[in-house]
């Protein structure tokens, strides 16, 4: 009885004070019922905890040619997989800044996705003829809302407009921006202004992801930076952009294979996984060479592609002394 009255007091306490916030227990059950957007590759899904999460902003960075746009297109298709086949059954918004959205390739990927669904679920399409009608590549293409922007002002305008657009189209479950850095890399003399504008954009995207319960995927380019006497590859837009995403995935080459490295996540450990870009889209890598990638070799390759701040912690150590203790943070 004491326990009951204690709980009642707790509830009324919440109603009075925290009616406008959610407690962690309720959020846990919400989170566990969330579906993730599959990337097409099982290994990649595993390191991402099932796929791309909704309500979060994921940044995907990499050198040109490693498959960022392919992954973006694959996600825009995979979000449309109907609910009965394990997908989200939602629509996609694709914001293209560079013009790398090739419609023929999208059609090819849509066909590949449908073929895989029918392979996986051979009997279910016989049950409902309406289900089969939806599984046409044309329908997949029709459910992608495409914006082509040609300057940074258009990019800011689209993101401002997105809130109104999403209020009218409530079935959108993913927004892909390819690539978010392109128009901000040139024509911006005032770097402080650029930082302010980009921070504002990232907050708006976070808000959109949370309010409309969708995934925001930002594709980012890699640039070279001159530090410590040599050129290093880092993600574009500088240190100020680094905190503007919930998760970060870095795509890189390891010999002839493509790898993805999960660099930042609030709940998942740091990990890498191989993937492949096939005619059908992003799929699991075929281990044709059966070569176990050496962990140190992998780490060395990733080292070249990570941001400056990972490399420069030693500089911080040189400047600040005293009171330094290593702390163990077990992510398991």
């Amino acid at each position: 009885m004491g326990e009951q009255s204690g709980k009642f007091l707790l509830c009324s306490h919440y109603i009075l004070i925290f009616a406008w916030a959610q407690n962690a227990w309720d959020m846990l059950s919400d989170e566990q019922s969330q579906k993730h957007i599959t990337t097409g590759s099982g290994d990649l899904n595993d390191i991402l905890g099932g796929g791309i999460h909704c309500k979060e902003v994921t940044e995907i960075g990499g050198v040109p040619g490693v498959g960022k746009t392919q992954l973006g297109i694959q996600l825009a298709i995979n979000v449309q997989i109907p609910v009965e086949y394990g997908g989200l059954g939602g629509k996609a918004v694709y914001i293209d800044t560079e013009g790398s959205f090739m419609v023929e390739r999208v059609y090819q990927i849509a066909e590949g996705c449908i073929r895989d669904i029918l392979e996986h679920f051979p009997h279910s399409h016989e049950k409902s003829s309406s289900g089969q009608k939806q599984l046409q590549p044309e329908h997949f293409l029709a459910d992608i809302y495409y914006f082509r922007i040609c300057s940074y002002t258009e990019q800011i305008a689209v993101i401002n407009y997105l809130e109104k657009f999403l209020g009218e189209h409530k079935d959108v479950r993913i927004v892909v921006i390819d690539s978010v850095t392109f128009h901000f890399r040139q024509d911006f003399e005032d770097l402080a202004l650029r930082t302010r504008v980009l921070s504002g954009l990232s907050l708006k995207l976070m808000k959109i992801a949370k309010t409309y319960n969708l995934a925001v995927v930002l594709l980012n380019q890699v640039t070279t930076k001159f530090t410590e006497g040599s050129f290093q590859l880092t993600l574009a837009l500088g240190d100020s952009w680094s905190h503007s995403c919930t998760n970060r995935l870095i795509l890189y080459w390891n010999g002839n294979e493509r790898y993805a490295h999960l660099d930042k996540s609030p709940s998942l450990p740091v990990a890498s996984a191989p993937y492949a870009v096939t005619g059908k889209g992003i799929r699991d890598a075929l281990h044709t060479n059966l070569r176990e990638v050496d962990a140190t070799e992998q780490a060395t390759t990733v080292f070249l592609y990570l941001n400056v701040w990972h490399i420069l912690h030693s500089q911080i150590e040189k400047q600040l002394q005293g009171g330094q203790l290593p702390i163990g943070m077990d992510n398991s």
């Binding site: 406008w20 930082t195 500088g238 905190h243 709940s267 911080i316 992510n331």
Partner: protein, 297 residues
């Protein structure tokens, strides 16, 4: 004190006119009024008068330390997050700042210290991670809850962590104002658990869009937020933990964001960094009000 009910502008003192309206005080009469009034309203104006022994008694009895659950950080902090103080954790991207916040929240929930309020700006609050951390801690020492099944225990603990997403500085002001109002109202009530820890992850992403440039409004908003947070910490005995990120300082070096004005705001500042590809993080103290660390800046 009745004065002639003359024109509104020149009249001094409070007076009620025929229709029951109170005239406003003229400024130069205000001090006279306050000096003639009781002790209690002087406290309303300039706060309570302490002497050294009162303060010491308050610190030893009321100002507890909230451990974060991470040994190294707790050692650097001198036990944990101190009540009434603002602690800042800064560091480069993915160095573990959010993990420090999640650990602190979980630890406060496990030890039943009170309600934890988590203000999240980057959708990084992960309930599953909180559940994992709580499961990992050894809470057999809490004998009261020993008989409840595991799920019930987890539920009680997690229900004391409250999370709210804020995406702009005005939303932040709103939330802090609502919190202040509800805490003031709560003072007259008894029962229920009070909030003991406020976490803002991260305050720098809310301030980044407005700081810099030729207009000073951004910086004044930053100072306003700082003042409100410190007032909340002092008046309601909260520990406040905020995170900050790093910006480049020229020549490839990095420094904490938010600039020189922010440096004086937190009572304790920690920098953490992570070796790439490993799970070991290193923490360094930038500033601490109680403990002494030799710094070579």
């Amino acid at each position: 004190m009745a004065a002639a009910g003359g024109g509104g502008g020149g009249g001094g003192g409070a007076t009620t006119s025929g229709c029951g309206l109170k005239r406003r005080y003229a400024p130069h009469d205000q001090e006279e009024e306050t000096m003639n009034q009781d002790q209690s309203s002087k406290e309303d104006w300039c706060g309570r008068l302490w002497n050294g022994m009162d303060l010491l008694k308050d610190v030893t009895e009321n100002k507890h330390v909230l451990p974060t659950g991470l040994e190294g950080i707790d050692t650097l902090l001198g036990g944990g997050l101190r009540q009434g103080q603002l602690t800042e954790v800064t560091g480069p991207s993915s160095s573990g700042k959010t993990q420090v916040c999640l650990h602190s929240a979980s630890h406060a929930a496990v030890k039943h210290m009170g309600v934890v309020m988590y203000l999240d700006t980057s959708n990084s609050f992960s309930p599953s991670r909180i559940a994992t951390i709580i499961d990992g801690t050894n809470d057999l020492s809490d004998q009261r809850r020993f008989d409840l099944p595991h799920k019930e225990r987890l539920k009680t603990m997690m229900r004391s962590i409250v999370c709210k997403s804020v995406f702009d500085i005005f939303g932040m002001f709103e939330v802090l104002h609502q919190l202040e109002v509800s805490l003031l109202n709560d003072k007259v009530k008894s029962g229920g658990r009070k909030i003991c820890l406020l976490i803002v992850d991260s305050i720098s992403s809310l301030l980044a869009p407005i700081i810099g440039g030729k207009y000073p409004q951004g910086r004044s908003m930053m100072i306003s937020v700082a003042m409100i947070l410190k007032k909340l910490a002092y008046k309601h005995n909260l520990s406040i933990l905020v995170t900050n990120h790093m910006v480049s300082a020229g020549n490839g070096a990095v420094k904490p964001a938010l600039g020189e004005s922010w440096k004086a705001v937190p009572h304790v500042r920690l920098v953490i960094s992570r070796e790439h590809g490993s799970n070991i993080c290193t923490a360094t103290v930038l500033k601490h009000t109680l403990l002494v660390f030799p710094l070579a800046i």
